[in-house]
C-alpha cells in the first residue's frame, strides 16, 4: 500500500481500460464513445510509460506514448468530422437513431 510499484500503475491502467470499454459499450452517443476511446489509449500510454520507467529504464516507452497521443488526435479529428457530417443528415448523433442500414 505504501510503496508504489509497477503493479500499481498496471492495475490503474487496467482499470481505466475496463472503464473505457464499459463506456464504449454503454454509451450510444458518438462523442461519448470517443471519450471512452481516449481512456483506452491513455491506459495503453500509461502502461508504456510505467514499463519504460520500471522494467527497461529508457525513454522508448515514452516515445511510443507520444505516438499514441498523436494518433488519438488524428482519430478524434476524423471521427468528429464524421460526427458533424452525420448531424447534418440526421440532426442527432445517437448511433441508434441512425439506422437506414439493416443489422
Amino acid at each position: 500500500m505504501m510503496t508504489i510499484g509497477l503493479t500499481h500503475y498496471l492495475l490503474l491502467g487496467g482499470l481505466l481500460f475496463s472503464i473505457g470499454m464499459a463506456i464504449i459499450i454503454i454509451k450510444r452517443n458518438g462523442v461519448a464513445v470517443l471519450m471512452g476511446l481516449e481512456l483506452l489509449l491513455n491506459a495503453a500510454a500509461l502502461n508504456f510509460i510505467a514499463f519504460s520507467h520500471y522494467t527497461v529504464g529508457d525513454v522508448r516507452g515514452q516515445v511510443v506514448a507520444i505516438f499514441i497521443i498523436m494518433l488519438a488526435a488524428a482519430e478524434a479529428a476524423v471521427a468528429l468530422a464524421i460526427v458533424l457530417n452525420i448531424f447534418q443528415h440526421f440532426k442527432g448523433i445517437e448511433v441508434d437513431e441512425v439506422s437506414t442500414l439493416r443489422d
Binding site: L10, G13, F17, G20, I24, G30, V33, L34, G36, L37, L40, L41, A43, A44, N47, F48, F51, T55, V56, R60, G61, V63, V64, F67, I68, L71, A74, E75, V78, A79, A81, I82, V83, N85, I86, Q88, H89, F90, V95, V98, S99, T100, L101
Partner: protein, 524 residues
C-alpha cells in the same frame, strides 16, 4: 531536474552532433533506396493535394486518376526492382531504419500486390458514375496514403510500426467511405467504421503494451523470447487476444467483422473494392508476420499451468472455422450485391486464416503463408474483377440488387461472362485461380492434420455455391424487363477482360506463379 531542462544553456557543437548523428545520417542514406516505392507515394500524395486545388473540377476524375495510376504503377515497378539487378550497387543494410521495417521477399510481394490493387481501384473509380463532378484531389491522395500504410504494414517488424501503419491504412479509409456525403448510408456506416476501428486500434495497442512490458523491447523478434510457461501465461493470453482484435478488424474476421457488411453496402463501390482486397491483405500480411515472430505452436497454459492447455494454432483454427461459416451463412440471405460481397469477404477471411494454421512448422512444398500469398494473388483478380463488373452495372443501370440482375447476361454478354468467371473463382471451382488457391490452403491444413477444418471449409464451399450461382442464374437464365444492349466502354471491357484472363491463367498455368510464391520468405 526541471532546471536542467529549462535553464541549461544549449551549446551546439557541430563535432558532437557529427559524432552522435553521423552514423544515423549515414544509415539513412543507405536505407532510403529501399523505401523508394513509399517515397514515390508520399510525393504523389503531396502533388495530388495541391493539384486538386488547381485542376478544373470536372476534369479531376480523369486527369488526377491518370496521375495516380502512373504513380502507383511506377511505385509498383520500383517495389519489384529495388534490390534486384536493375539497381546495381545497392547494398542492403542488415537492418532497415533500426529494425523498424524489413526488406524481404514477403514484403516485396505484398507491396506489389497492394500497388496493383490500387491501380485497379483507380481505374474502377474512373469507370464509376459515383464521382461525377467531384473534387478528387483528396480522394486519390487519401487512397494513396492508405496504400502507403499497406506497404509499410507488410514490411513492419516493430510493434510501434505495426500500430502506426495499421492506423495509416485505416484513417484515410474512414474518410473515403464518407466521400459521397450526400449518401445517408455512407455517413452512417462511416461513423461505425471509424469509431469501432479506432477502438480496435486502442485495444491492440494496449495488448502491445503488455508485450512491451514482458520483453522490454518493441521489436517483433523479441516476441519469441517470451516464455509461455508459469506466471507469464495469463498475461500472454490476454495480450495475445487483445492484439488479435486489432488485426481481426482489418481482416474482417469474427468477432471483429460486424462493420464489414454495413460499410461495404454504404461506401462508394470502388472504396468497397479497395477495402475488400488491399486493406484486408495488409491486415493479413501483418498478422502473418506477427504470428511468425510470436510462434503458433506454443502451449498456452491457463490457470496455474494445469487445468487448460491450448495452442494458439487451435485458437486460430476455431476462429477460421467460425468466420467462414458465419460469412457464408449470412451471405445466403442478402439481396444487395455489395452486402453479399461483404459477407463473402468475411467468409474469405476465414479461408485465408487456414493458411495461418498451416504456418505451424514445415508443411509440404508450400507453407501456410505462401498459400495465403497465392490466394491473395487470385483473390485480387477475382474480387476486384467482380467489383469492376458490379460498378459497370451500377453505373449503367443503377442496379445493386441481385433481383435486378435478371436478364443482364444477353444484354452485356462479355462482361456478364467475365463476372461468371470471377464468381466461379470465388466459389473455388476449377479452372480458376480460386481453385488453385483454395487447394493450396486446404493442402497445408491437411498436412497439419487439421482434417476437421478442411471438412468445414469443404462444406462452406458447397454453401457458397448457392449465393454466387444465384447471381449467375439471374443473369443468364431469368428474363429481365429490358433486352436493350448495355453500352460498353473500351477501358471497362479491357480491364474486366484482363482480370478474367488472369483468373483463368492462375487456374490453369499456375506453375510460374507457384514458383514465385515458393521463393517468398521472411528472411531475404
Amino acid at each position: 531536474m526541471f532546471q536542467s531542462v529549462f535553464a541549461k544553456k544549449i551549446d551546439f557543437e557541430p563535432k558532437a552532433f557529427q559524432e552522435e548523428f553521423g552514423s544515423v545520417i549515414n544509415s539513412l542514406k543507405d536505407n532510403l533506396p529501399f523505401i523508394a516505392p513509399e517515397l514515390v507515394l508520399v510525393g504523389a500524395i503531396c502533388v495530388l493535394i495541391l493539384a486538386g486545388l488547381f485542376v478544373p473540377r470536372r476534369d479531376q476524375k480523369g486527369s488526377l486518376g491518370l496521375f495516380s495510376l502512373v504513380a502507383l504503377l511506377g511505385a509498383g515497378w520500383l517495389a519489384c526492382s529495388v534490390g534486384t539487378s536493375h539497381f546495381p550497387g545497392l547494398e542492403k543494410p542488415d537492418t532497415l531504419f533500426q529494425g523498424m521495417i524489413a526488406f524481404d521477399s514477403f514484403a516485396v510481394f505484398f507491396k506489389a500486390l497492394f500497388l496493383l490493387a490500387g491501380a485497379v481501384v483507380v481505374i474502377q473509380t474512373y469507370l464509376s458514375h459515383e464521382f461525377e463532378g467531384f473534387a478528387m484531389g483528396e480522394y486519390y491522395s487519401l487512397m494513396l496514403a492508405s496504400l502507403l500504410g499497406c506497404c509499410l504494414l507488410a514490411a513492419a517488424t516493430d510493434m510501434v510500426m505495426i500500430y502506426l501503419a495499421l492506423e495509416l491504412v485505416s484513417i484515410p479509409t474512414y474518410i473515403l467511405v464518407i466521400y459521397r456525403k450526400a449518401d445517408k448510408r455512407a455517413t452512417e456506416s462511416a461513423l461505425k467504421y471509424a469509431i469501432y476501428g479506432s477502438v480496435a486500434g486502442g485495444v491492440m495497442i494496449y495488448g502491445l503494451s503488455l508485450f512491451y512490458g514482458l520483453t522490454g523491447s518493441t521489436a517483433l523478434t523479441s516476441l519469441s523470447t517470451i516464455s509461455m510457461e508459469g506466471a507469464n501465461a495469463a498475461v500472454v493470453v490476454i495480450a495475445g487476444f487483445l492484439v488479435f482484435a486489432g488485426f481481426a478488424y482489418k481482416m474482417a474476421a469474427v468477432p471483429m467483422h460486424f462493420w464489414c457488411p454495413d460499410v461495404y453496402e454504404g461506401a462508394p463501390i470502388p472504396v468497397t473494392s479497395y477495402l475488400s482486397v488491399a486493406s484486408k491483405a495488409a491486415g493479413f500480411a501483418a498478422f502473418v508476420r506477427f504470428m511468425d515472430a510470436f510462434g503458433l505452436g506454443e502451449q498456452i497454459r491457463i490457470a496455474g499451468g494445469e487445468s487448460i492447455s491450448i495452442q494458439w494454432v487451435e485458437v486460430v483454427a476455431i476462429i477460421a472455422a467460425v468466420t467462414m461459416t458465419f460469412g457464408n451463412l449470412s451471405a445466403l440471405f442478402q439481396d444487395n450485391v455489395k452486402r453479399m460481397l461483404g459477407y463473402s469477404s468475411i467468409a474469405h477471411a476465414g479461408y485465408l486464416l487456414m493458411g495461418v494454421v498451416g504456418m505451424k512448422g514445415i508443411a509440404g512444398d508450400v507453407e501456410g503463408f505462401q498459400a495465403i500469398s497465392f490466394y491473395f494473388l487470385s483473390y485480387l483478380f477475382m474480387n476486384l474483377g467482380a467489383f469492376t463488373v458490379v460498378i459497370v452495372i451500377a453505373s449503367r443501370t443503377g442496379a445493386e440488387n441481385i433481383e435486378s440482375y435478371k436478364g443482364l447476361g444477353p444484354r452485356m454478354p462479355f462482361r456478364a461472362a467475365c463476372l461468371a468467371i470471377f464468381l466461379v473463382g470465388l466459389i473455388g471451382l476449377p479452372p480458376t485461380g480460386g481453385f488453385t488457391g483454395k487447394f493450396m490452403l486446404l493442402k497445408v491444413v491437411i498436412l497439419q492434420k487439421y482434417y476437421w477444418l478442411a471438412i468445414v471449409a469443404g462444406i462452406n464451399t458447397a454453401i457458397s455455391v448457392y449465393y454466387y450461382a444465384r447471381i449467375i442464374k439471374n443473369m443468364w437464365l431469368e428474363k429481365g424487363s429490358s433486352t436493350e444492349q448495355i453500352l460498353a466502354s473500351p477501358l471497362g471491357v479491357s480491364v474486366i477482360g484482363l482480370q478474367a484472363a488472369m483468373v483463368l491463367v492462375l487456374g490453369v498455368f499456375f506453375s510460374p506463379f507457384v514458383d514465385i510464391i515458393q521463393r517468398i520468405s521472411f528472411l531475404s
